[in-house]
């Protein structure tokens, strides 16, 4: 026994050494480096609009300082402002005016480029030439996106054309939508239309939809390589002087360079042209980040024009330098405790080994055995009860963050409110709860009959060879990740049904099918064969036996399985986000876009820090989701427990 333990220790010691070496070798010292061999890391996240430009800057910057690691992220994981205010990244790319609340929290904004948000439509639109000649005024845009007065292209052009306008907008909180809405005196949440995720999402949707209209950042309306308009996309010219036609001095859109020039010379209105910012949390205190922002403001500007962005003026460059020199130093901007956490984890492991090592000090064999027994039991108890601790932490943590919501409105108001306008402090969750429940129920309506029939077929009827095909197929289906179902939905269902409740519930239905079928099969298998035989002996057909004996006997089990599938549907995020269209609404047909609670959480991380209470609202959504799932889980658990007891 003694030697065995010694051997075990011998195996574990190198492992421990490796772990410690791993944690200690990741120092990233950024202080006291001269610019020539500048080291450290710079992380940037945020807006789609600035992303292509930031790529150029980072490429050039890392060519000059190869030792600096630059992490650049945009889109789903690039949360920009939230990240920078929380100290998760060094720079946020921002494509709208910073809010005062954000400046109060310590955000410092540096203007680094300019661009514009442009209305776009599909090049395959049959009225293309007429639209190009007519242009669009701010008032027209208001009637399309806000009031919905214009529903056909004829109304826009002043003809009697009856082709419908399919309006697209952004689902994620973003600068493009805010700037665009500001053009006709509105805010993003007022914009109507099918909401699509991300800037590229809109251009893609509009290219595919001949009657679609949307808006894009310059960077995505034009091809970034050739600077010509994206194939399949047309920019809708702004009718600046509202004379219902596009005159020569309003034809600014041929390439990205021409529009950039127009913006620089002030021939294009602002908004929809705008400043683009890099935002930091206080002036960067580490050399790498400081050098990076200096580079962007000075030498980096020469890359703006070749890439179709507008240079910043000398005045704003001087302004930025002044901010850099005079601004409040970032207090521990690199508040990166990741390494500290790794160290703590390492320490815990070392402590564990030390306690385990105590046994070797004990002379008596029996004492050692008892010690080991006690140790292991304590460890197991701690681990087991940590589950309950985690549950409580989840509830308390989310509740703590969500609590500020209740200062302003009651629980009832939050749950039944129908208006979702964060900037006005209106947080009505009803459309989201409604959408979540609707998609869940509809998907169960699809999958329950299908899975029940399939399960009966497999267990009672199917010849063996069919079972050998169906079972592995279901296993495969069960193992596929939800994002794959999302891809399937985007590629095969969206072209037929659009971003809609129907699409999402079909995707979800297919997703829960394998779970339900395998559960049903298990439940049917528990029905004793004797029962079936006696039913047959009484002259019942197979279907009668199934219906009156097997299904009736397994009814509670079926119910529990359905509840399980329900709770899975309620929490599904990625697949639903990809196909739901993200429009909070209460009434709508099967073919209308909608919104769910998980999608709300997934989409709105970017703007959480900018509006008071927004973060609380998102956390409240998470809490709501958690409680819903808890409810369903406990329900199914209770039923299953009853069944077990009966058996």
């Amino acid at each position: 026994m003694y030697f065995k333990d010694f051997n075990r220790l011998k195996v574990l010691t190198p492992l421990l050494a490796v772990l410690l070496a791993f944690t200690s070798c990741q120092h990233k010292n950024t202080e006291n480096q001269d610019a020539d061999n500048l080291q450290g890391s710079v992380s940037i996240s945020g807006a789609f609009a600035l992303y292509p430009m930031a790529v150029e800057w980072t490429n050039e910057f890392s060519a000059r300082h190869p030792a600096v690691r630059i992490d650049l992220s945009s889109g789903g994981a690039g949360k920009g402002m939230t990240d920078v205010l929380n100290g998760m990244v060094d720079f946020a790319m921002l494509s709208r005016e910073p809010h005062d609340e954000e400046r109060e929290k310590g955000a410092i904004d540096f203007t680094v480029a300019k661009d514009a948000v442009l209305p776009v439509f599909s090049a395959s639109n049959p009225l293309r030439d007429k639209i190009l000649a007519h242009g669009i005024t701010a008032d027209d845009a208001r009637k399309i996106w806000i009031t919905g007065e214009y529903t056909t292209w004829g109304q826009l052009l002043g003809t009697n054309d009856n082709n419908p306008i399919h309006v697209y907008t952004r689902s994620d909180a973003c600068g493009a939508a805010q700037t665009f809405a500001a053009w006709f005196g509105a805010v993003q949440e007022d914009l109507g239309g099918t909401a699509v995720y991300g800037d590229p999402g809109i251009s893609k949707a509009v290219i595919d939809d001949a009657f679609g209209i949307g808006f894009n950042n310059m960077a995505y309306a034009y091809d970034s390589e050739t600077l010509n308009m994206q194939t399949g996309l047309e920019v809708l010219p702004l009718d600046i002087n509202s004379d219902k036609s596009v005159s020569d001095d309003e034809k600014l859109y041929e390439t990205r360079s021409t529009i950039a020039k127009a913006i620089e010379e002030g021939r294009f209105p602002a908004p929809p042209s705008r400043n683009l910012y890099l935002v930091t949390n206080g002036v960067p205190s580490d050399t790498a980040s400081l050098e990076f922002i200096k580079f962007v403001i000075s030498d980096g500007q020469e890359f703006n024009e070749p890439n179709g962005y507008v240079r910043i003026s000398n005045a704003s460059a001087r302004e930025s330098m002044r901010k850099l020199n005079g601004g409040r130093r970032g207090r521990g901007l690199k508040r990166d405790n990741t390494q500290l956490m790794t160290l703590i984890a390492g320490l815990v492991v070392v402590l564990l080994f030390l306690t385990a090592g105590v046994q070797f000090l004990m002379r008596s064999h029996t004492k050692r055995r008892v010690f080991r027994q006690r140790m292991s039991e304590t460890m197991m108890i701690i681990l087991s009860f940590s589950s309950i601790a985690l549950l409580i932490a989840l509830l308390v943590g989310l509740w703590g963050k969500a609590a500020p919501m209740f200062d302003k409105s009651t629980l009832g108001e939050l749950l039944t409110g129908t208006q979702w306008k964060p900037s006005q402090g209106l947080f009505g969750f009803r459309p989201f709860i409604h959408g979540t429940l609707a998609v869940t129920l509809l998907s169960i309506c699809f999958s329950l009959p299908l899975s029940l029939l399939t399960a009966v077929f497999i267990t009672e009827y199917a010849p063996r060879f069919l079972k050998q095909i169906v079972n592995p197929a279901l296993d495969i289906l069960a193992s596929l990740p939800s994002v794959i179902f999302g891809v399937w939905g985007v590629l095969t269902l969206i072209p037929k049904f659009g971003y809609s409740l129907l699409t999402a519930s079909m995707v979800l239905a297919v997703m829960v099918l394998p779970i339900m079928v395998s559960l049903f099969c298990e439940i049917f298998a528990t029905v004793p064969t004797d029962m079936r035989d006696s039913s047959f002996a009484l002259g019942a057909t197979r279907w009668q036996t199934t219906r009156k004996v097997v299904i009736r006997k397994s009814l509670p089990g079926i119910f529990a399985a359905v509840v399980l599938a329900l709770s899975k549907c309620i929490g599904e995020t990625i697949a639903v986000m990809m196909v739901c269209g993200c429009v909070p609404r209460l009434r709508g047909s099967w073919l209308d876009p909608f919104y769910t609670l998980p999608a709300l959480i997934g989409n709105n991380y970017g703007e959480m820090a900018s509006i008071p209470l927004y973060e609380s609202a998102i956390m409240f959504a998470a809490l709501l989701l958690l409680l819903l799932v808890l409810l369903f889980n406990i329900l199914s658990r209770v039923i299953l427990y009853r069944i077990e007891k009966d058996n």
């Binding site: 039991e377 069960a478 990740p481 808890l630 369903f632």
Partner: protein
Amino acid sequence: MTHIRIRQIEEKVMRGVMLVATLIVLGAVISILGTILIRGCKALSWDMVSKFPGKEWNTAPDGGFLNAILGSLYVVVPAAVIGACISIPVVFYITMYKRRRTGVSYIIRLAFDVLYGIPPIVYGAFAFLVMVGVGMRASVLGGIMVTVLLIVPMMIRSGDEIAKTVPDEMVDAVYSLGATKWETVWVVLKHILPGMLTAFLLAVGRAIGDAAAVMFTAGFSDQPAHSLSDPTATLPLAVFNWIIMPDPFPNRAYAAALVLTILVLVLSISSRIITRRITRLNK
């Protein structure tokens, strides 16, 4: 006579309906796999899975998404190992230390069952709160943390099922030889290890495909991660991000989806092979 006729017709109709339902289910499977395979095969090239993103990554086919593949592995493999280290003791505790059905093991089981049902996005939001609280950045470590939360309830659930197959007589025999519970653990461990391996592979397969949880915690980056504190791309998130971006990104999304599918299928099939081996051995 007619009554019997009606019954027989009913029987035939129902048989037909069931066949149709089964075919619809099979059709869905074929449609999904077919879509992923066809789009993916067209888009996939060796460069994509063997190279990191190049300089011209954003505008032209330059380099590949090896960083996302590695990122997924960096996050999931350590998380699964840590998950196993946490869940195996818990399984022992609820099945052996509290062997006869007791309140304690019932409560713990219930707690883990509830944790199992919690949507990944809620874990993601919670982990984000914690990370902001302690001052961590989006990083591989953050991804590992949240994936552990995701994996442990899964492994405990399957481990619990496996531990039920350990014969009571065997445990009693070990006790009767004077072994402590801790010493008994090693005997039982041998018995359930292959089963736990299956559970391990299945949990890895589940975790590697989950995007919602790592969305807020692991971040996204075109650079490969070099240490635990670097943000990293992960495969499912890459698919989610790229599918709506302009060319050449959608093709990468299809290719990444295919790679992800293959990874997950290999894991699930190998776990099934192991299960089959075990059941054959036990016979």
